[in-house]
């Protein structure tokens, strides 16, 4: 822990306490950097970048990677109970894709000069954030459909825009990941379609899952623009290309017709179509719930981190054995 706290990374990830401690950037270099961004050029690992740009990307990319890895748990919860062999296979494949995305983005963060094992420690000691949606429990098989449809759907709306982010390695990772997420979303929606056309119990299961996941899905886009601390700078540097509220609205507009096609409702009595703006206007998000979940008091925050820690602790002897064996082999090769 001492070495971790002493690392450069630790400070990078603790934006709120360390922003002021970052060294001031050379104004000429900043101007050249911003000109590149304005011209629509992508920023590559070896390019000069402001310390704030590097730290913001490290924060965003590591949070994204953590979300993929923690996100394996709520869906992994139903792998052993999937009701057909085909569904079992596609759910395993989906969770496996999430592990792959996590690995891919962790590797992407290394282009910013950080070590993925250090980032992983941040997740385990509870100081790093991940998407709050994964702190909700999965209570029925229908959740596997609804998570694919709503949660992956929301992620796609976010990530499609991130695929045009100014940092090259992240943008390229997003292009690839979006393709797989689209597949997951279709798969999830297909599960929902089958349930919607199934027995009364299956339809009820679907409606219940939507009732539980609707608002948390809207919260996935983060705080509203008026309360989003990081947004201004991120938009200027084209790390983000749209605001949280713009993306949230886009998601609702895309999703409501899909809910109508399924013949289910969303739990919002204030929802209405505005013919002038052509937007589906939705009710007020319960921001106190959002704050509770991101500050560690959601229904499964503890369980998710404990599961990650347990996997890590249980795997300690395995990782030590692998290193020890690799060292033995290296010594043998040297001696030969």
């Amino acid at each position: 822990m001492a070495t971790l706290r002493g690392s450069r990374l630790y400070s990078l990830l603790h934006m709120t306490t360390t922003i002021r401690q970052l060294p001031a950037d050379d104004p000429a270099q900043v101007a050249a950097f911003e000109a590149l961004i304005a011209a629509g050029e992508s920023i590559e690992p070896k390019d000069w970048m402001p310390a704030r740009y590097r730290s913001q990307l490290t924060r965003m990319m590591s949070q994204h990677a953590h979300s993929e890895v923690v996100g394996m748990l709520p869906e992994g919860n139903w792998i052993t109970r999937a009701p057909s062999l085909r569904r079992k296979q596609s759910l395993i494949a989906k969770v496996q894709d999430e592990a792959g995305h996590g690995l891919y983005i962790y590797c992407g963060t290394e282009t910013l000069g950080v070590d993925r094992f250090d980032l992983f420690n941040q997740l385990l000691d509870g100081t790093a954030k991940y998407s709050s949606i994964f702190n909700y429990p999965t209570l029925s098989w229908a959740d596997m459909g609804v998570i694919g449809w709503l949660v992956d759907g929301a992620a796609i709306v976010n990530q499609t825009v991130l695929a045009k982010t100014s940092y090259g390695p992240y943008a390229r990772a997003m292009v690839r990941i979006c393709k797989e997420e689209n597949f997951h979303k279709r798969q999830g929606y297909e599960i929902c379609t089958v349930l919607a056309n199934g027995t009364p119990a299956q339809r009820a299961m679907l409606q219940d899952a939507v009732d539980r996941f609707w608002w948390p899905s809207l919260m996935m886009f983060g705080p509203s623009d008026t309360n989003s601390l990081n947004s201004g700078e991120l938009l200027r540097w084209k790390v983000k290309r749209k605001t949280n509220d713009e993306l949230r609205q886009r998601f609702v507009n895309l999703t409501i017709p899909q809910a109508q096609a399924l013949g289910i409702t969303v739990p919002d009595p204030d929802l209405r179509f505005d013919p002038e703006t052509k937007n589906w206007v939705f009710g007020e998000i319960d921001w106190s719930e959002f704050q509770q979940v991101i500050s560690g008091n959601g229904p499964c925050n503890r369980e998710r981190l404990e599961a990650r820690r347990k996997a890590h602790d249980d795997g300690q002897w395995v990782r030590e054995a692998a290193s020890a064996h690799a060292a033995k082999r290296a010594r043998k090769t040297e001696a030969a």
Binding site: L85, Y106, V194, W317, V318, E320
Partner: protein
Amino acid sequence: MASAHDADDVGIAAGEAKAGDRPVAGPSRGPRLGAPLVEYLLRLGDDRLILGHRLSEWCGHGPILEEDIALSNFALDLIGQAASILRLAGEVEGAGRDEDALAYFRDGVQYRNCLLVEQPRGDFGDTIVRQFLFDAYSVLLWEALLGAPHAGLAAIAAKAIKEDRYHLRHSSEWVVRLGDGTEESHVRVQGSLDRLWRYTGELFEADAIDQGVAGEGIVVDHRALKARWDQLVDEVLDRATLVRPADGPTQRGGRVGRHTEHLGHLLATMQSVARAHPGARW
């Protein structure tokens, strides 16, 4: 505990039922099995379904992210193989059961997997040792079945052998790493090997079902298979600095539905959603 007293407990007076009313002597002491080829395919399919299920329990809980991915991959391969084999078993049986009916609506005593694959996943060492012992057997078995005169089975063997050869390479490497890693890993994995060894004998036993399918041209020389397995396993254990356990009494019974208690719990989980909604489509 007189027997007359026991009979009174269930409301039947001793001697009340007359001999000859209903036969009480069963046909044999052995289990009642179906047609040989159906039974044979169920054995192949159930081994892979149950092992795949055990591997899938690791998803999200592996020691490193790369192993989450690898174990999920093996689970996918094995469940995919199981689905093909069970579909074929259902077709051969001709009773209108597909792979899902066979997977989700048979009870434990109707399952035909070996005892090795149903043991709990344990720690990573248990999982890897079990995988290695099974992979080595599976690769050799598929080699023998490649030339089977049953076109469906031969096609499954041709696909599965490629997958299983990769599994074997991966599990062998891990056995060596863990055996020849740290003192702790060596002790742990030797313990896994010692505990699981008694379930390996069952893999190589031949019975009436094997004789039955031999009549259809599906012939596996179990002795030759065991000799090659011994050689393969010894070679890896040697590299891993592990001691091959002595061949003690074998635990058997899975092939005829006499399982360990672990299978019932696995199936209770696996079948819970499907059985709560009989007739539903998913």
